[in-house]
Symmetry: C2
Subunit: 239 residues, 2 copies
DNA sequence: AAGTGGTCTAGACCACGGC
DNA sequence: CCGTGGTCTAGACCACTTC
């Protein structure tokens, strides 16, 4: 009888149970998680199923498995390659986050950006331009574009507080899957330099990202310019 | 009788068999791969084992699975978040790659770098400094550091041809697992500008990476400075 | 010696895709 | 309708770690 009670697969219920114990602080890094056999008994499930649950947590780096020893809560987790909103990034470093909205409205004629969002080239777009501040110093200029047909009401949303991500996920039922990013370095133009409080010509980290929904559709195009002395990107690559 | 013939797990042998057919061009993107049941029969293995083999290929993005339909060779693969040597990167874009070795020798007193490699601070290090060229134009300056105790003979290796990765993997039995990278932007100092043929102050993409072996030990520290007009980094982040 | 993760078997039922 | 992937069972043996 797979997927017994509700519609959720057993292995996902087991993962959720473990995650809850980790997030609540009941299980701390280094602590032993229930073994495969214990989980199998507790959740009345076969070994392979308990194993599957742990396999996913292992891949996501939440848990370390040591053959012969056991399964343990992984170290305090640096979130590599994790798609996070600005607010989430700052929160994860327990820094205060603020944004100033420079402009927010509907534009058209941006063919190249429409193309990146897989939209017809004459599509109307929502454009949001914000200065990101951390510790009361501006450190990034971020410009987002979304389809105006789908997200037109964003133009009147309370963007000052509440992150764009949370508005999209809560109010539009949008669930984000991944982002493909293009990263390079560029020199600050006069306007950007002014907004960020640096001198023109200073090197900036430029990040262009296309954020995809779980259905595989491009949902957001974002262009970020980061003061390089204030921000470094952390990435993990695998062989 | 697990791991029947040789010491390789069955699921890895199955993966290898499929990979071979993909890499040889016998299976092209979009083509159907053997189904779980076919694989089980062919390799005389249970369904769960065949399934496990495909699960790993799916996670690595080599293959797409469509419930009810089948398993198919994935699209021409952009290698996101893949740890590749310079030579491999160029090869994957079918561009000619060349390097010029500026210096190659043993140094000491580099405490900060020794620390990044988890070595005692007075450790001797191999230092290799190279200019990377693509299409006959210099586009990156790369400096690598390794433990001199372990890799001292690199100082006399034929680095002009053959990538550092392949030498390490073939001659030193080193197997690389992942790299953690720190990325930011910086301005070209006079020496770097000269070597890369740009004017000083130009923005450069700076990538510092610590490359880990499969045993989890830091093996290489590399500092790369990339001409930003010639190079953009591609990254995928997941929610 | 007892417990653990890693691998594996030989089946099973379900929901869904394509014909 | 048949074949597919997704989930699951109730066991098994091995190599390893911990005590």
């Amino acid at each position: 009888m797979p997927e017994s009670r509700n519609g959720t697969p057993a292995y996902q219920r087991i993962q959720a149970a473990i995650l809850k114990r980790i997030e609540s602080g009941q299980l701390r890094p280094g602590d032993a998680v229930d073994s495969e056999r214990q989980l199998a008994k507790i959740h009345r499930v076969s070994l392979m199923t308990a194993r599957h649950a742990l396999a996913v947590l292992t891949r996501d780096g939440l848990v370390d498995r040591r053959p012969g020893a056991g399964t343990f809560v992984a170290a305090p987790k640096i979130h590599f390659n994790k798609l996070m909103s600005f607010s989430e990034q700052m929160a994860s470093r327990s820094l205060p986050a603020r944004s100033k909205v420079l402009s927010c409205g509907i534009i058209d004629g941006e063919q190249e950006i429409a193309a990146r969002l897989a939209l017809p080239s004459e599509s109307r777009l929502v454009k949001i331009e914000r200065v990101r501040q951390g510790a009361n110093e501006p450190f990034a200029l971020e410009t987002c574009y979304l389809s105006a047909d789908e997200f037109g009401d964003l133009a009147k949303a309370p963007l000052e507080r509440g992150s764009l991500f949370s508005i999209l996920e809560r109010d539009h039922g949008l669930s984000l899957a991944h982002a493909d990013e293009q990263i390079d370095a560029t020199a600050a133009d006069p306007r950007t330099a002014g907004l960020l409080g640096i001198s023109r010509g200073q090197p900036l980290l430029r990040i262009r990202q296309v954020i995809f929904s779980t259905e595989g559709k491009p949902a957001i195009y974002a262009l970020g310019l980061y003061r390089s002395e204030r921000h470094t990107l952390l990435i993990r690559r695998y062989r």
